[in-house]
Symmetry: C2
Subunit: 151 residues, 2 copies
DNA sequence: GATGAAAATCGCCATCG
DNA sequence: CGATGGCGATTTTCATC
């Protein structure tokens, strides 16, 4: 079902991206739409896959994983981790994997407790392809909400 | 205040990373700790900066921004966007900026509505440094919770 | 940190515009 | 398709142990 998102949908998405814990009543006040309508809209957005989940954002450093890195992968053909992400199911250090165009197969974002743990993960990743890693010094922009496409 | 996270803290972090909309009562049931204690713990985690926010995760493609890319930047000295992220305040396409060690200054994650919009953003970014971009074909691992560091 | 209760809030159903 | 009203259930918080 591909009915485009209207003004109310985007107001709800804005609010819930900013604070996922807002109640339907509170959303109703902010968006100036009745609470039952809010609940219906939000459930529709969830069912349509527009909203994929609600998550607390945890600071990896404060949580004991201060070693952040980006690992560029050039996988060996069929063992490409982008087609077998389940290979990394038991690697809690792996936060994100994106598959790319170009000579870099994928980029893996990693959050490890220690340099040593990062080293071990790189060894593991090197089974699947050539790795090239860079440490994350800081995150000037950590997170941004998805904004309505202005057309 | 740097008191390390205990078992209860991690149970709460796990639950709230998985579903940020759980009530304190529901958390109380899952973590087997009384509701007032849950509320107190969660507020402490928020105040300590361990929990940085609660966000709905929105699928950029479903929300009208299907053109995702990673842009590697080699900034021109002082104009480096990692030290002046406010230069990108009015670029809703920019989702994330990480500063890196190595010859790549930073990587910028972008979600644009169209190829044309991506092109325009690249023009803008090229004012600050050399850009090298790769399209995101897919995201085999989109998101992972921060897990307790096993030591 | 647990308990218990009180006040406020929330979510949902049926109904109506 | 959205708004209103009201009910019951849930939640949050306070004081106390």
């Amino acid at each position: 079902m591909n009915t485009p998102l209207d003004k109310v949908d985007w107001a709800l998405l804005d609010a819930l991206q900013e604070d996922a814990r807002l109640s339907y009543n509170e959303l109703s006040r902010r968006v100036h739409v009745s609470a039952p309508t809010v609940a219906q809209r939000v459930r529709r957005l969830e069912a349509a896959g527009v909203i994929q989940g609600y998550h607390a954002r945890v600071d990896p450093t404060a949580a004991g994983r201060p070693v952040i890195a980006l690992v560029r992968m050039k996988c060996y053909g069929a063992r490409c981790i982008t087609v077998h992400p389940e290979l990394l199911a038991d690697c809690p250090e792996v936060m994100e994997v994106v598959r790319l165009t170009g000579d870099i197969c994928s980029v893996v974002k990693v959050a490890a407790p220690t340099i040593r743990a990062l080293e071990q993960l790189l060894e593991r990743l090197s089974r699947y392809g050539e790795t090239s890693s860079a440490m994350v010094l800081s995150t000037p922009i950590d997170w941004r909400p998805v904004a309505p496409p202005t057309e």
